[in-house]
């Protein structure tokens, strides 16, 4: 059984003119340069330097995937890209175009994804949305802009949910972060259509240390979507982003992301939400690309009656190590959480690593965790490392996990209806990932489905 997933098909470089970049390697000088280049206030420089100090003290985690090949001295920590892209649509590699066609992405979007502009359209759309939002008092901005325009709000929340001391790569992020999204939704405002970072990010290429800060005030509702299923080429080998969500009383937040970094990337992302009284937080995530992923979205249920949902899918082809999971800390009473994690390993390594902790004061809390893994191909590995920690009276926690091959009986049954083996397998895999796909907006769902199908191609025989 040969499995060949040609990831180069997805991975492509944009020839972007660069205005300014720091020398490779991380020193205090580099941190100061980044801050100076961005013209930041004094407190931010201090914060960066503090994070840098913490970064130097913390050690590389000993558990999980091997990070020894990640050479931190060869990485360029800050690149300011030029907004005008030099390429034309005709110059785009036909292979890349074919990938987009297979994914069914409309041409206007294809052009933007390939980095050849056509941003005029999306800029118009973006401005329309922006006008509508700002009338309601919503702030939807680039983090660098937000730091300048809303300094007090920014300072109040920035890295208060993910402290630099959390782990080495959170500290690294704090020292060199740039770009990202700032979203503030005032009290009681409900945003009906999903907010996509995509609109904003087209005009300025996304960095690999982007910071996403989401503050949702009392009773507000929002669905925020980040990333896209078309691959992003990353010249640097590390992506250490950070997402902070503050879900205030009775708010509802859904954060969806599809991450598909190129195969040379170490994706060491940190995502965390503070969920207050009666609020509901949902994480929907898909991890398809990157060589190594370590990503465990975390919900801190600090207010009573709060709840969290984690839904994720990971796909590992040859040479990929997807170490993903979910962390839920029940701190207040009557809190509930649900985790659904699916993984498919065809030649790569997938691991579920998660913790559900019911703390001393979290009486009457409930949690259920379900992880399923499909494994195919002789080189594949599939692991599961859950941690269930209950320290409260009247708590109910359930955890289920299974790892297995594609059920031969199911395959046989479908094939007996006259369907070929490859298609039968796609049907089974489609059914397997359906609970996750269902939660994504339509265009993402279609793309995810197709990407996984493409990954599975050639795995029969």
């Amino acid at each position: 059984m040969e499995i060949s997933v040609n990831r180069e098909l997805y991975d492509h470089v944009d020839n972007v003119k660069i205005r300014f970049k720091t020398a490779p390697g991380l020193t205090e000088e580099v941190v100061r340069q980044i801050s100076a280049q961005k013209n930041e206030p004094e407190w931010m420089l201090k914060h960066r330097l503090h994070c840098f100090e913490v970064y130097q003290k913390l050690k590389v985690p000993k558990w999980g995937p091997d990070l020894s090949k990640l050479d931190m001295d060869k990485i360029t920590y800050y690149i300011e890209p030029d907004a005008i892209h030099a390429k034309s649509w005709e110059q785009v590699d036909p292979e890349v175009k074919r990938t987009f066609d297979k994914l069914g992405i409309p041409e206007a979007e294809q052009r933007a994804l390939a980095g050849v502009g056509a941003q005029f359209d999306s800029d118009v759309v973006y401005h329309n949305i922006k006008k509508e939002l700002s009338e309601k008092g919503v702030i939807f901005e680039d983090c660098d802009v937000a730091l300048k325009e809303y300094p007090e709000l920014f300072k109040k929340y920035f890295m208060k949910c993910v402290p630099a001391t959390l782990h080495k790569y959170a500290a690294l992020h704090g020292a060199v972060w740039s770009g990202g999204t700032f979203l503030y939704v005032p009290k009681g405002v409900e945003i009906k259509q999903p907010l996509q970072a995509y609109f904003r990010m087209n005009s300025k290429s996304m960095g690999q240390f982007e910071h996403t800060l989401i503050i949702i005030e009392e009773g507000a509702k929002v669905h925020y979507i980040e990333g896209c299923s078309a691959p992003k080429y990353n010249t640097n080998s590390i992506h250490a982003g950070c997402v902070e969500v503050f879900a205030k009383k009775d708010s509802r937040v859904r954060y969806s992301s599809v991450e598909n970094w190129s195969i040379n990337t170490y994706n060491l992302n940190t995502k965390r939400a503070m969920v207050e009284e009666g609020a509901h937080m949902e994480w929907v995530g898909g991890n398809l690309g990157s060589g190594v992923t370590m990503l465990y979205p975390c919900s801190m249920l600090v207010g009573k009656n709060s709840s969290a949902n984690h839904i994720s899918i990971a796909f590992a082809a040859k040479g990929q190590n997807q170490d993903t999971g979910a962390k839920v800390f029940h701190i207040a009473p009557n809190t509930s959480s649900k985790v659904v994690s699916k993984s498919i390993s065809v030649g790569g390594i997938t691991s579920y690593r998660g913790i559900v902790q019911i703390g001393k004061g979290a009486e009457n809390s409930k949690s259920s965790v379900k992880c399923d893994a499909l494994i195919r191909g002789i080189e594949s590995k599939s692991n599961s490392f859950p941690h269930i920690d209950v320290n409260a009276k009247e708590a109910d926690v359930g955890h289920e996990a299974s790892v297995g091959r594609i059920n031969e009986d199911m395959l046989f049954y479908i094939m007996s209806r006259g369907i070929g083996e490859e298609q039968a397998m796609q049907i089974i895999v489609g059914g397997f990932i359906e609970p996750v796909i269902r939660e994504l907006p339509l265009e993402y769902a279609v793309e995810m489905n197709k990407l996984i199908q493409m990954g599975m191609e050639g795995s029969v025989g």
Binding site: N383, S384, P386, D389, V390, N391, A395, G398
Partner: protein, 277 residues
């Protein structure tokens, strides 16, 4: 080293397969089909089951702080191993059990931890081709006790089966941490592994870490972990039948720990007595 009932050269050779071992270890060689035999409490045990053996061994730990046993099940042998730990409330206990389950051999392991202030129990099962191992580990952790229970099942040969069942109760100020690992190695195709963890929290702390590591695509493995509390309606029902609250709790705990336990009445009684204390 004391040799008990050893008649085969192979029994000596297996010593080389084992890791370093205490000099005063007791070496027991089991043969044919034997009734329940009790292991002597003092010292370590080295047990060899010859091909075709069917035996039951009981280890009752009441005084000895460290208990180590290494068991080698040869082709097609069957062994039930029962270990009951009821150390004094102020003792720090340590146990290491190692089972080599040979081709086609079958192991049933029952472990019960109740005593001791701080207990560290490690069990490793190594499964060869067509081997079967079932482990049922129960614990009753109460009043400031601290248990750490680790069980590893390593599938080395193909078509091997493992079933790890851990269930326990954590009472006031008690702390129990149970780590289970099913590892299916590259050559262990068509193996099945299942882990089932059940915890009942009265007023204590329970941690379950049921791990799976699968290196072969042709397997079926799953785990299930559940931590619950005493259902008020059950308690109410028993009390309405005239049971005092304490006896009602005891009945529920006993039912939780020993329900569906495929063991003989004699052993069940033994467990029950321990629980009574």
């Amino acid at each position: 080293m004391k040799l008990v009932n050893v008649s085969e050269e192979k029994a000596r050779n297996i010593l080389n397969n084992f890791k370093s071992y205490a000099n005063d270890a007791e070496l027991i060689c089991l043969d044919g089909s034997s009734d329940i035999s009790e292991l002597q409490e003092a010292g370590d045990s080295l047990i060899y089951c010859r091909p075709g053996t069917k035996a039951t061994l009981v280890q009752n730990v009441q005084k000895n702080k460290t208990r180590n046993a290494q068991v080698y099940l040869d082709k097609g042998s069957e062994l039930s191993f029962v270990s009951v730990q009821a150390l004094g409330k102020d003792v720090e206990g340590n146990s290491n059990l190692f089972f080599h389950v040979g081709p086609g051999a079958s192991l049933k392991l029952f472990e019960f931890n109740a005593g001791g202030a701080k207990i560290n129990a490690n069990t490793t099962l190594e499964l060869q081709e067509d081997a079967k191992a079932e482990s049922i580990s129960s614990f009753m952790c109460s009043e400031g006790q601290n248990f750490e229970i680790n069980i590893n099942a390593i599938h080395k040969g193909k078509n091997s089966r493992s079933f790890l069942n851990t269930r326990g109760v954590s009472g006031k100020d008690a702390n129990a941490k149970c780590k289970g690992l099913i590892k299916v190695e590259k050559d262990a195709a068509q193996s099945d592994g299942y882990q089932d963890n059940n915890g009942l929290v009265l007023d204590g702390h329970i941690q379950f870490l049921p791990f799976l590591e699968i290196e072969n695509p042709d397997v079926k493995c799953s785990h299930n972990a559940k931590v619950t509390h005493i259902d008020e309606s059950k308690l109410f029902y028993l009390q309405s039948r005239g049971l005092k609250k304490e006896s009602a709790i005891k009945a529920i705990v006993e039912g939780f720990l020993f329900r569906n336990l495929p063991i003989e009445d004699k052993l069940r009684q033994m467990f029950s007595e321990e629980l009574g204390g």
